[in-house]
């Protein structure tokens, strides 16, 4: 019972292997679902009240980890969009535009505080509806969403300081369409700056993840926001199209795929509608030989496996300097063995469920493409739950710049590893992409960081870290990753007209 005697004769270093299948394991630690109230059915949130959809149609939203139905939500059609836009227009003209900015700010502060108060409930619903681990929805999505409202609440009555000597005026009604990867957070990114600048909103959450936006509607109702200032329409692509094409919309804010982004741009061409598009990405994460390797490896892991890789700024292309490639790949392979894949509601889960069957199919398609392209594939040896949509964390090595898995956005837990020799080479390769949303640089040398970040064509470049977000920092893309910035002072710009003060 005292010291367990084990003679450790040195083994050949190329054969040694760490064993992560340990005798001491974590017992299940599910977060309680009792904190969350999910109704059987949700209507549309128009003009401050819940209204039945004119088409009388509802669709199911499921838990991707169990494939069980959670609730059914209304399918909004053109008539509903019309009602919502009319309500938003009335609220804009009669109430919101005229309200003193300080009072608008108070409402936004109230929403922020209520998100904090209901943080646990929102986190549980986010995880059930979208499949992301509770650790992330609890520690990242919900607090960051609240922070966004706090941040923009502060700007509401300070626009004259944000834009000195100029007069900022709202645009009118904003149509906002958000994706399924960060449902509540994206709603916050869209709604907060719009309200702070005096606009009213018609927002459509993604088809597979409507529940936290609907919970937010309940919060907005409880916060006593004037009716019509925020309207929430659930539905699919057609609902989104009806918002984009509605003549009463002054501005479109869209986060989603590049494909849909292009459709939107076509649809609004020739109209007076303003737009911001935050689209896809294929971020280059670059490790130089002088980098702090273990921290870089951890950053790469977070960069690609955060939220199952369903992140538009995910670091999905890893460039490693050739002299350290073997070492880095060995560490990456060890690290994926310790990622816990499973029930997202378990507090120890690192990688939850893929958001939908459709997305899982897309990921599988790319895994096959990678194999066919001759890349070496390593996946974690972890077991997967029998039900639900799950995918093992996967690394492809020996990937070429011309491989599809290095060029196209997979939007899943799949990392493509490429090697490089010189600074100039890696900059050229990193910029060699139709996308330009984000990038990462890992080096111990400060001067190299500045040189790299200056030459990288990406909206965000992280140095010695990855996936860091703050409401005060602008976010947005180059090239086919979109245009316009969200967050920070820059995030106010897309929602205002500026005129010179006389």
């Amino acid at each position: 019972m005292a010291v367990t005697k084990k003679k450790a004769a040195p083994k050949k270093s190329n054969t040694v292997k760490l064993k992560f299948d340990t005798s001491w394991n974590y017992a299940p630690a599910p977060e309680s679902k009792s904190a969350a109230t999910i109704h059987k059915q949700y209507d549309l949130f128009i003009n401050g009240e819940w209204q039945k959809p004119s088409g009388k149609k509802y669709f199911d939203t499921i838990n991707p980890a169990t494939e069980e139905k959670l609730s059914e939500v209304a399918m909004a059609n053109e008539a509903d969009t019309n009602k919502a836009v009319t309500a938003a227009r009335n609220a804009y003209e009669k109430v919101w535009k005229k309200m003193p900015a300080k009072e608008r700010g108070k409402y936004i502060f109230r929403i922020a505080r209520m998100i904090q108060e209901k943080a646990r409930e929102l986190a549980v619903i986010e995880t059930l509806d979208g499949g992301k681990p509770i650790r992330e929805s609890r520690d990242f999505d919900v607090p960051t969403a609240a922070n966004h409202f706090f941040y923009y609440a502060g700007w509401a009555d300070k626009l004259e300081y944000a834009f000195p000597n100029r007069q900022a005026s709202p645009l009118g009604v904003a149509g906002q369409i958000i994706p399924w990867n960060f449902p509540l957070l994206m709603a916050a990114w869209k709604i907060a700056p719009a309200l702070a600048t005096g606009n009213t909103v018609v927002l459509k959450p993604a088809e597979t993840t409507p529940l936290t936006a609907l919970k937010l509607a309940e919060i907005i109702q409880e916060a006593d926001l004037p009716p019509g200032v925020v309207n929430i329409l659930t539905g699919a692509g057609e609902t989104g199209a009806s918002i984009v094409n509605h003549p009463g919309i002054d501005k479109i804010a869209f986060t989603g795929s590049t494909e849909v982004g292009k459709l939107i741009q076509r649809a609004i061409a020739g109209t007076n509608k303003k737009a911001t598009l935050e689209l896809g990405g294929k971020a280059a994460n670059i490790i130089f030989e002088d980098a702090p390797i273990d921290q870089a490896v951890e950053g790469v892991i977070n960069g690609i496996f955060f939220n199952q890789g369903h992140v538009c700024c995910a670091g999905s292309r890893l460039y490693v300097q050739e002299s350290i490639a073997k070492q880095v790949i060995r560490k990456l392979r060890d690290r994926i063995e310790t990622l816990i894949v499973g029930d997202p509601i378990d507090k120890n889960t690192d990688i939850g469920a893929i958001n939908s069957k459709q997305q899982l199919d897309t990921i599988h398609k790319y895994l096959n493409i990678g194999k066919k392209e001759g890349a070496e594939m390593y996946e974690s040896s972890c077991p997967l739950p029998r039900k639900g949509y799950f995918c093992r964390p996967t690394i492809f090595t020996n990937v070429a710049q011309s491989s599809r898995i290095a060029q196209e956005e997979i939007f899943g837990p799949v990392l493509a590893v490429l090697t490089f020799r010189t600074d100039d080479e890696v900059i050229e390769k990193a910029n060699n992409s139709p996308y330009g949303l984000s990038a990462g640089v890992w080096t111990d040398k400060g001067s190299k960081i500045f040189n790299m970040t200056k030459r990288m064509r990406a909206g965000v470049v992280w140095a010695n870290t990855f996936n860091k977000f703050d409401p005060s920092s602008p976010f947005g893309g180059y090239k086919e990753s979109g245009f316009g910035r969200e967050g920070g002072l820059h995030g106010l710009m897309p929602y205002i007209n500026l005129t010179h003060q006389s």
Partner: protein
């Protein structure tokens, strides 16, 4: 002296890998979010208890004090069956004989600090004699301190040679090398000192003497665990890890266990390769184990104060 088998290519320690402080702290914090409940908590607590080097290192240590501590080491809490012993008792060289006799054939090791502990400010021959004395008295393990002054002055060869000399003086006894991380000033230097110690022959690397603040922290232990992993990959040789000082609560000890599990894995999850240097941790662990058995927290009065 060196046979072909034990020949290691000794790297240039000035070029040891750099560590990013922010990254290490973030990673260490992540381990603390693991939720350890039910049977994994109970098993973890027993493992922690079994990894403790029960320590007394005071100027006022006496035979009586050491004997009591040894009894506690063998019988941590007889009121509850199935509780493991600790791993070792850690004392000054002058107390080794007493401890050895008191522990008898329990299987619990006697660890002795040596080499002019805690400052290490003595000539090498004194340190070697200190070590030999402890070994001759019956110490199974020697906890030495490195010469931090020389290390800061960049005299890595001096530090390396000294560790190698002490290792030789240890004979069969296992050598733990205390880096005194609280005096090193940066993670870069902790990493460098870890490599010097391992290449010079350390069987264990250890954070602290317990006499300097800060002592063991999770980030500093993580840096050392990662150095151990890289050394293992390069040489195929396992090196143990002992955080010491500042770990007095079960919950924190379980976080350390999570870190060992997820950085080094199964082979290190036993007291042959991982130890806690602590004195007050044992009672907190016992209190938690009893709570897992009975569902109730008992008063501190039910646990022996040593």
């Amino acid at each position: 002296m060196a046979t072909a088998k034990s020949l290691l290519t000794v790297p240039d320690f000035a070029l040891s890998p750099r560590i990013d402080q922010v990254g290490v702290e973030e990673r260490a914090a992540r381990f603390t979010t693991r939720s350890i409940k039910k049977e994994s908590k109970l098993n973890g607590l027993k493992l922690v208890l079994n990894m403790i080097d029960l320590t007394t290192l005071e100027g006022k240590d006496t035979d009586g004090k050491v004997k009591q501590l040894c009894y506690k080491a063998i019988h941590p809490h007889d009121a509850v069956p199935g509780i493991p012993t600790v791993a070792a008792v850690c004392v000054y060289p002058s107390m080794v004989k007493v401890a050895k006799k008191a522990l008898g054939d329990s299987g619990i090791r006697v660890a002795s600090v040596a080499t002019a502990f805690p400052s290490g400010q003595a000539p090498r021959d004194v340190k070697i004699r200190d070590t030999r004395y402890a070994v001759n008295e019956g110490a199974d393990e020697i906890d030495m301190v490195i010469s931090r002054g020389k290390f800061h002055a960049g005299e890595y060869n001096f530090v390396f040679d000294e560790i190698a000399a002490i290792k030789e003086a240890c004979g069969e006894a296992r050598l733990k090398v205390i880096l005194e991380t609280g005096e090193l000033g940066s993670f870069d230097k902790v990493r460098r000192a870890s490599e010097i110690a391992m290449y010079a022959g350390a069987d264990f690397i250890k954070t602290s003497t317990g006499k300097i603040q800060p002592a063991a922290t999770m980030p500093v232990t993580l840096v050392m665990l990662e150095a151990i992993r890289d050394f293992y990959y390069k040489t195929g040789r396992m090196v143990g890890m002992k955080p010491a000082g500042g770990i007095s609560k079960s919950k924190l000890a379980l976080h350390y266990l999570v870190m060992v599990k997820e950085v080094l894995g199964e082979d290190w999850l036993n007291n042959e390769w991982f130890r806690f240097g602590a004195s007050s941790l044992a009672n907190d662990v016992l209190m938690q184990i009893v709570k897992e058995h009975t569902g109730l927290y008992q008063s501190g009065n039910y646990f022996s104060v040593d």
